[in-house]
């Protein structure tokens, strides 16, 4: 990959370059307290863009899969209907995307554009999206106790699937890495200059320091995958996990890798209807309820089990080439019942260790 060096004071010029090219640039900002959020950059807020900050809970997946998205506009016309598909493909760049979220978007790409059908709504948005990854290097502000990208193998520095990566070398300089020709084209700007071997060394030194900062290391991730796939998790463990779920759906809404949605028609005028899709959550009891009332997934633990099965079962990993968890830690931060991904892995680890059926020496 092609790399360049730029001065810390010039980093936000990357945003300016993209805006000059006609991109709507989305960047992270700080709210009150821990609150951080993504927003569109304007002349007024440009100076407030944060390079180092806790990753916003509301995930950037909404720029490819909006929380509510209109699919069709349908109008009643002399006895029939006129159906008009919605076309929305803004030319956008996300600046300051964390590595876990880069992996999240790549996961969505494989899901929405892969298999039997391609999702044209997703594809339109994705085609016009430029990704600027910022590596989490600030151990205080970037990385929280819930982060575990090191375990999910997505961070702290993304290896690919970004257009441009920026990394703070902590000495007044940033390293820029181009992931695509579009990213590399930016290097034409005079803010970028060639680096030296010392810069590469610096990058590796910073990364190895950063890796030490991670608290949550769900080291049983791979074993959990095996246990979930083989159906070796005891019902009572699933129940224990399920009993702690309040069915708020928060974990799925904040998850950069959750893909489920529902579709709904809404009346917007006397003769006009919109068909929209809205994020949905498998934790909610109506998720699998069929017309007529039959619900195959009745118990709350059946639904909780679903989320982890879908994310961790070997079958899906094979199909999608990765675990459907990027280690962003958001579900751990928002769950009222403390059953985010790391806790669940931990609970499964304890329960299966305690009841180890394969232990050759029995009491």
């Amino acid at each position: 990959m092609r790399t360049r060096i730029l001065a810390r004071v010039d980093v936000l010029q990357v945003v300016d370059l993209l805006r000059q090219q006609g991109y709507e640039v989305i960047a992270p900002f700080a709210g009150r307290g821990r609150d951080t959020f993504f927003d569109t950059v304007t002349n007024a807020n440009r100076a407030d863009i944060q390079i180092h900050l806790p990753n916003p809970y509301y995930p950037p997946k909404r720029y490819v899969l909006p929380h509510i998205e209109r699919l069709l506009k349908v109008q009643r016309m002399n006895g029939g209907w006129q159906i008009e598909p919605t076309v929305a493909a803004p030319k956008r760049a996300i600046f300051g995307l964390r590595s876990c979220d880069v992996a999240g978007i790549w996961h969505l790409d494989r899901f929405y554009l892969g298999r039997d059908f391609r999702d044209s709504y997703y594809e339109q948005r994705r085609q016009n999206l430029f990704l600027v990854n910022v590596v989490c290097t600030d151990t205080e502000r970037d990385i929280s106790d819930d982060c575990f990208c090191v375990c999910a193998d997505t961070g702290p520095a993304a290896r690919d699937h970004f257009d441009l990566q920026l990394m703070d070398l902590d000495d007044g300089e940033f390293m820029a890495v181009a992931g695509t020709p579009a990213g590399e084209a930016l290097f034409a700007s005079p803010i970028f200059r060639k680096g030296t071997a010392a810069h590469v060394e610096r990058r590796h030194a910073v990364l190895s320091e950063v890796r030490k900062r991670f608290k949550t290391t769900t080291s049983w991730f791979s074993a959990t995958v095996r246990y979930v796939s083989q159906g070796r998790i005891l019902d009572k463990t699933w129940e224990e996990i399920g009993n702690r779920c309040l069915e708020c759906g928060g974990c799925t809404y904040v998850c950069p890798a959750c893909t489920c949605f529902t579709v709904s028609d809404r009346q917007v005028g006397p003769d006009e209807i919109e068909r929209v899709r809205i994020w949905d959550a498998c934790a909610l009891s109506g998720f699998t309820r069929m017309a007529g009332g039959h619900n195959p997934r009745r118990a709350v633990h059946d639904r909780r089990n679903r989320r982890f099965f879908r994310k961790l079962a070997h079958y899906f990993i094979q199909r999608e080439l990765s675990v459907a968890c990027m280690g962003c830690g958001r579900c751990a931060a928002v769950c009222h019942g403390d059953i985010g991904m790391p806790s669940v892995v931990e609970m499964i680890r304890r329960a299966t260790a305690a009841e180890d059926k394969l232990e050759p020496v029995k009491p």
């Binding site: 699919l71 069709l72 349908v74 009643r76 006895g79 029939g80 209907w81 159906i83 598909p85 899901f111 929405y112 554009l113 298999r115 039997d116 059908f117 391609r118 999702d119 044209s120 709504y121 594809e123 994705r126 085609q127 159906g231 893909t259 489920c260 949605f261 529902t262 579709v263 709904s264 028609d265 009346q267 209807i273 068909r275 899709r277 949905d280 498998c282 998720f287 699998t288 309820r289 069929m290 017309a291 007529g292 195959p296 997934r297 059946d302 679903r306 099965f309 879908r310 079962a313 079958y315 899906f316």
Partner: protein, 281 residues
């Protein structure tokens, strides 16, 4: 990435031609696409596939396809259970709605060539199986024996009467209807559908046979046991699964069961596959 991809959520306008009452709350809706090209493309569906039916303002729902691709007309048979099916029931001939599909894997009818076909339907489980039965009869020389076992609650709950009459007259098919409760005019069998297998005069072939089973969950469980008792293996039994579906194209996640997205991996599964899904149906 290719800019000119098909919009998988875009339904095509359809016109309702006529409506036939089948049984209580169940009607058959004959329709065609406004666009002749759409109609031609759609008619390449396979038995066991389904379509997403749009009633604008109410929503979309999955409906199995009871016609065989060998028939000329396209139709749905739908029970009124939720708001979408109620909206369809409210339509009059000439009214417009929209359809997209066909979706799902369907039954691999070509793979069953040279085998006996045993159909076991309970109630409205006959809707998806009707397609395969008509298809098999249209390709009669490709299959060996064809048996249809059909159980309904009462004589008034028997659907597709014109077809039943043809099958009764032995048009290449051994037809065994039964009802849970008979009435004054009923001269046929009374009892659950599985009880027919052991009746004198009935002989169900097991070797080189595929059994198609569709019906309510309770009936399904019992029939599977009965078939296994006759010597059927899980691999010889096929069925279609029904789930709440929002997209039909493997994206929304609603139809997921264990390892499968029913809308794209199914709705047709063998009994063996159903057991390996990793979640109760």
């Amino acid at each position: 990435m290719n800019a000119a991809v098909d919009n998988i959520y875009l339904p095509k306008l359809a016109v309702l031609d006529r409506v036939v009452d089948e049984i209580h709350e169940v009607r058959t809706f004959y329709w065609h696409f406004e666009d002749a090209e759409e109609q031609r493309k759609f008619r390449r569906f396979r038995p066991g596939q389904f379509a997403q039916v749009s009633l604008f303002g109410t929503g979309e729902f999955p409906a199995s396809l009871p016609p065989s691709p060998t028939e000329d007309e396209t139709f749905f048979t739908v029970k009124r259970v939720g708001s979408c099916s109620a909206a369809l029931h409210a339509l009059r001939p000439g009214d417009k709605f929209a359809v997209r599909g066909p979706y799902g894997n369907g039954f691999p009818m070509e793979d069953y060539r040279g085998q006996n076909l045993v159909f076991v339907a309970g109630g409205i489980g006959l809707i998806p199986l009707r397609s395969c039965i008509i298809y098999a009869l249209a390709h009669r020389d490709q299959y060996r024996r064809i048996q249809v076992f059909y159980g309904a609650k009462s004589p008034r709950d028997l659907m597709y009467l014109p077809n039943l009459r043809e099958w009764e007259q032995g048009a290449g098919v051994e037809f065994y209807p039964t009802v849970d409760r008979g009435d004054a005019d009923w001269k046929g069998n009374v009892g659950v559908v599985g009880s027919l297998f052991k009746k004198p005069g009935v002989e169900v072939p097991v070797a080189d046979t595929v059994a198609f089973v569709c019906g309510p969950p309770v009936m399904f469980r019992f029939v599977i046991k009965d078939l296994q008792a006759l010597g059927f293996t899980d691999r010889q039994i096929v069925s279609t699964l029904e789930r709440y579906m929002k997209c039909g194209v493997g994206k929304c996640g609603h139809c997921c069961i264990g390892m499968a997205y029913v809308c794209v991996d199914g709705p047709v599964f063998t009994c063996e596959q159903i057991k390996q899904l990793g979640e109760d149906i």
